[in-house]
């Protein structure tokens, strides 16, 4: 007889969602989190897209601390001198909510409290060492030499899944699986944020950036999200390109982003409140490990469930949906009284039927777009040349658009045929 029906490792969106779901179905659940309070150790881009929480917390837009409703979305190429944006704002988002900026220190604590209210036991401030195994089957978790038994273990420990790795349930993380995220939270008065980003009330802005001014091999994306009275700004840096480069440091990239002439004015006068860094899942479907086995399931970032195509970075909705799917699988397994690998295999089928694995499979090669010389150097250069020659009045006769495009691509470092081929590939992959 196990002490718990299920032990969930990690009280992020995946783990807490799983715990809430199982506790609602009267399972005896232990949720273990190393941070105290939950949320205080994580780093997140900070936009919760979609409506995934509604399934476990019907009134989630009231019950979970949210910052701003995203109504304004930007994608920007930053060169040394210029900023080239696709800027989308729509009042449609006021009725059909797409995403909210969140501060995870608040959101994760609220989710863990919801799990506690639902009846789960929540233990914070303790780090699980590894899963406990008996004849190859996971039978609980081990911490400080003691074993706590359960019929099922859900590992939802985030982008650096030490328990899964140390227990031999997945291979160690490599350069190809993760990027490095560096993030600052900067405090500014609410009305200053509204003025600078042209926002009303609790409307919010979410911007993604391609930091194409970087030199050498380094490639990085930036993000800037408005919260109520803070701004979350960060850089997501390719770890393999950083290694290739060998000269640039992640913190220098972060610093160059916040000091960029087109970014610094947005942050001026703000007070730096938090500075943090974390691994970011970036490997796509090829980084997803085996996500279930005898007595265990892996959910959220620990399973590599995140999505980025440069226009959108998503992870929390994948975490919540996979956490709920893992919970439902355990609930069904309990009804059958069978927690073997075969019995838990329905977890993968559930995810294959949902957007989680569909997105990851459909965008298998997206990293070749998001991390490429074309995206990070050639396109921004061409766009900058083109727009500058269009908008800059020289007093000389004007040229036709096609002529300008051809001239603009000259110093992009790529031939015409290369550009056409790469553009075609990019359209297909995105």
């Amino acid at each position: 007889m196990s002490e718990f029906d299920a032990i969930v490792v990690g009280a992020g969106p995946a783990g807490s969602s799983a715990a809430i779901r199982m506790a609602n179905k009267k399972l005896n659940v232990l949720l273990v989190e190393r941070a105290d309070p939950p949320g205080s150790k994580n780093v997140s881009g900070g936009i919760l897209w979609g409506n995934a929480l509604a399934e476990i917390i019907p009134e989630w837009e009231k019950d979970i601390p949210l910052e701003r409703l995203i109504t304004h979305k930007g994608t920007t190429f930053l060169t040394k001198d210029s900023s080239i944006s696709i800027d989308f704002r729509s009042t449609k988002f006021l009725e059909n909510h797409s995403g909210y900026s969140v501060l995870r220190a608040r959101m994760d604590n609220a989710l863990a409290n919801s799990a506690r209210k639902a009846g789960a036991m929540v233990v914070t401030g303790v780090t699980v060492d590894r899963v406990a195994k008996e004849e190859g089957k996971v039978v609980g978790v081990e911490q400080d030499g003691e074993i706590i038994t359960s019929d099922a273990v859900i590992l939802a420990e985030g982008a650096n899944p030490r328990v899964a790795i140390d227990s031999g349930l997945r291979k160690p993380i490599g350069d190809q699986d993760v990027a490095i995220g560096v993030k600052q939270i900067i405090r500014l008065p609410e009305n200053t944020i509204n003025e600078r980003f042209n926002l009303k009330g609790s409307e919010g802005f979410a911007g993604e950036y391609v930091l194409s001014y970087l030199e050498g091999e380094a490639e990085a994306g930036g993000f800037l999200y408005t919260n109520k009275d803070t701004i979350s700004i960060g850089a997501v840096i390719s770890s393999s390109k950083l290694r290739e480069d060998g000269q640039t440091h992640s913190y220098d990239i972060m610093e160059s982003f916040v000091q960029h002439p087109h970014i610094a004015p947005l942050l001026e006068g703000g007070k730096l409140e938090e500075y943090s860094a974390h691994l970011v899942c970036e490997g796509g479907i090829d980084s997803v490990p085996r996500i279930y086995g005898d007595g265990y399931l892996i959910a959220g970032d620990a399973a590599g469930f995140s999505f980025s195509n440069g226009l959108m970075i998503q992870g929390m909705n994948y975490a919540i949906t996979s956490g709920i799917a893992a919970a439902d699988t355990v609930i069904e397994a309990k009804e059958r009284g069978n927690f073997s690998s075969d019995s838990l295999a329905s977890y993968e089928r559930k995810l294959e039927d949902s957007y989680v694995l569909k997105d990851l499979k459909n965008f298998r090669n997206i990293d070749k777009v998001t991390w490429s010389r074309v995206t990070h150097r050639a396109i921004p250069k061409i766009a900058e040349n083109l727009l500058y020659s269009m908008y800059h009045e020289t007093g000389r006769p004007k040229k036709h658009l096609m002529q300008m495009i051809l001239e603009s691509s000259r110093d992009s470092g790529m031939s015409k045929s290369q550009l056409i081929l790469e553009s075609y590939r990019m359209m297909r992959r995105m």
Partner: protein
């Protein structure tokens, strides 16, 4: 005895009431109290004595007691009641001493030397006075030998070794040991066992001895120091004579006889 204090990075002073606003800050165990708990746990490990942790505070302080039990304390008692609110160090010591008496026979009372949110260092000695027992302050380590406790006291320029019969109260300096972590097993057991909540009825003290009414302290005034503008200047080796001259002229440095 422990106290849950606000994380020092998250507190601010209420400009009207001159009290600390703790509402928004994360609660942590007062650092010196963590060292006091560790010292008590070491004594418990060797002697098998029962270790009871008490704290006075709002209901949220429960998490601090669960953490202490997760590290190995046997019981956690939360003294909580609206009438105890706004107590100064006198009323707090009196209330805590009443709680210690109610626990029953004891050999040792161990407390942190002072807290990060008020820093008076009054409460440990105050409790010893109300209990009418001896006290050893500024303790960095201790062990129990039969009826006596051996303590080392840090006197800044010396270490004093004290041997004294029990019962006695010790106040323990911050950073005097490395507090252990709580374990999953012990924390699960702590949550299942739960803490004990004692209120005004439990302690049965006269109402005007506790809380704000029982507190003779009056905060006369509070001054917040003005932030001083600091000037940053980058200099090279060649600039040093010029820099010394400038500092002298600005009165930052002076001749030896002038200082």
């Amino acid at each position: 005895m422990i106290k849950q204090v606000p994380d020092a990075e998250e507190i601010f002073i209420d400009p009207v009431k001159f009290t600390l606003n703790r509402a928004s800050a994360r609660g942590i165990i007062n650092p010196a109290d963590e060292n006091a708990l560790e010292l008590a746990l070491q004594i418990k490990d060797k002697t098998g004595m029962e270790l009871v942790v008490i704290t006075m505070g709002p209901p949220q302080a429960e998490t601090a007691l669960i953490e202490c039990m997760g590290r190995g304390a046997d019981r956690g008692i939360l003294i909580t009641d609206r009438v105890f609110a706004a107590a100064d160090t006198y009323a707090t010591s009196l209330t805590l001493a009443a709680a210690v008496k109610k626990i029953g026979d004891f050999n040792l009372v161990v407390a942190g030397e002072s807290t990060t949110d008020s820093g008076t260092g009054h409460v440990g000695p105050g409790v010893a006075q109300f209990l009418d027992i001896d006290q050893v302050t500024y303790v960095t380590s201790a062990y129990v030998d039969k009826e006596n406790v051996h303590c080392e006291r840090d006197l800044e320029d010396a270490v004093e070794v004290v041997e004294t019969p029990m019962p006695v109260l010790l106040t323990v300096l911050m950073n005097s040991n490395i507090p252990r972590h709580s374990t999953l097993r012990k924390k699960i057991d702590a949550i299942r066992k739960g803490i004990e909540k004692w209120d005004h009825d439990t302690l049965n003290l006269p109402p005007d001895w506790v809380g704000l009414k029982g507190s003779p302290t009056i905060v006369g005034a509070l001054r917040i120091p003005q932030e001083r503008k600091r000037e940053g200047k980058l200099i090279t080796l060649d600039d040093i004579p010029e820099m010394v001259k400038e500092l002298y002229e600005k009165g930052v440095i002076g001749k030896e006889e002038e200082l």
